[in-house]
Symmetry: none
DNA sequence: AAACGGCAGATGTCTATACTGGCATGAACC
DNA sequence: GGTTCATGCCAGTATAGACATCTGCCGTTT
């Protein structure tokens, strides 16, 4: 009974057990493949019942943090190889990390009033003010993505004052707060003539489009529409069930 | 103690409890919003302890099958609209669970020899035998998806003998073995004339295409190309970072 | 040397019991 | 009529104890 998790009210005990374990994994104290103390040992170390330890470990298994084998033990799992297709990514990072040069061009940066569709997406009434930006991302000088964003002024009051040739909307918004919830919708579109022009497409060509909404404090603060140039981009995911 | 779940060995009791509940939801006996019996009532009905019932309900909550409110009760949740992009899904289940009628039409079912691209996808030499199928999935009579599959004969020797009007390739292959690894690639395409015909598209329209490869025992055993009809389908994901 | 059997230790499951905190309802009060 | 408070129902969590099942190891037997 060395540690004795606090018996007050910060969080459920099994959550504290999960924290105890994930902290040791994140600091590297327990590397990949390391064998965790057995359930009984954790019971003695942490001063909680075995059912509580078991629940923590079971949930960590579901989360892919550890793997377990009956009769053998519990081990630190490989860091998740699965690429979440819906992960929040920064296209600038993507381009650079693939060894290409990234640049942007700002098409629009203004303030608009929400029409009924936008208002519904944001859970506000039509006519509400929204900041609006259209930016093209280039990879080695050729356009790869057109991003159009609508941002709640309440969330990012300085949005229009940013110099998006130096930073990017993604970074600016991330610096304010991390979203607590994200919705992604992926579909195929035949782009409009405007988008075709921005993407240097001679003729309309099927493009991937990703629509993202992010929530902070229970409210939609950003809606983004990202159109990727033709067949030059695809989403890839791998996972082990 | 009316029902008394079997105390023999088919599955864990909490799994049986989950089954008891999901069956009633799937048959429609308990519709969306229906209030489930309380934990104590389920204890009496099923003859298991409350912890067992609680675990079953907790896992069903995580799965999005039910929603719970402390002090109020447990309710049948809205059928999950969200399609996990990386999840392995059966489109037949998708269509049926959204309240539509599913049917199929078999276009091709034969044995071919791999060209160099296919051989590379399967990690085999060109000329290797592969089973090949093209099937159209209909939702309420209108085509929603064209699936073209290439299957390793070594993995599924009976593939060509299946009656895919009764079952589906997905189910047949799932019954043989669960893949240990899956790769998904999503992109937008302008479908070929053949695909357009199969999808009843008057003119080429941007379509979502999903390419899937699955591994069993370290070898690629299936490559599937799924083309979804135009804007009638999209992938949606929600997550909390 | 190989095969078998038993044992210890690990996870998986289940039960009975208890306490906590959230919520709705209805009664009593203002 | 409106407000407040007590009560009961409900899910959330926690524990101790027990049994089940699987695995790896070791000592014995063949």
């Amino acid at each position: 009974m060395a540690t004795t998790l606090g018996k007050d009210r910060p969080a459920a005990r099994y959550e504290q057990v999960k924290l105890y374990i994930t902290e040791r994994i994140e600091t590297g104290e327990w590397g990949v493949g390391h064998r965790l103390p057995s359930e009984s040992e954790l019971v003695e170390i942490l001063g909680v019942s075995r059912m509580t330890v078991h629940r923590a470990l079971r949930e960590l298994t579901v989360d892919g943090v550890v793997t377990r084998a009956q009769g053998v033990g519990t081990f630190v799992a490989e860091p998740a190889q699965r690429v979440e297709l819906l992960e929040l990514r920064d296209i600038a990072d993507d381009i650079v990390s693939n060894g290409h040069v990234h640049s942007t061009r700002i098409i629009t940066l203004d303030s608009i009033r929400a029409d009924s569709d936008l208002a519904m997406a944001f859970g506000q009434r039509p006519g509400a003010r929204l900041f609006h930006s259209i930016i093209v991302h280039y990879e080695d000088g050729t356009p790869l993505q057109v991003e159009e964003r609508f941002v709640s002024p309440h969330f990012a009051p300085d949005y229009l004052d940013q110099d998006f040739t130096l930073t990017h909307p993604h970074r600016h918004l991330s610096a304010i707060a991390h979203p607590e919830e994200i919705e992604h919708v992926v579909f195929a579109v035949t782009p409009s003539l405007d988008i075709c022009t921005l993407l240097d497409l001679d003729e309309p060509e099927a493009c991937l489009q990703l629509m993202r909404r992010t929530w902070v404090d229970g409210r939609v603060v950003m809606k983004g529409v990202f159109t990727y140039s033709g067949s030059r981009y695809s989403f890839v995911g791998r996972y082990r069930p």
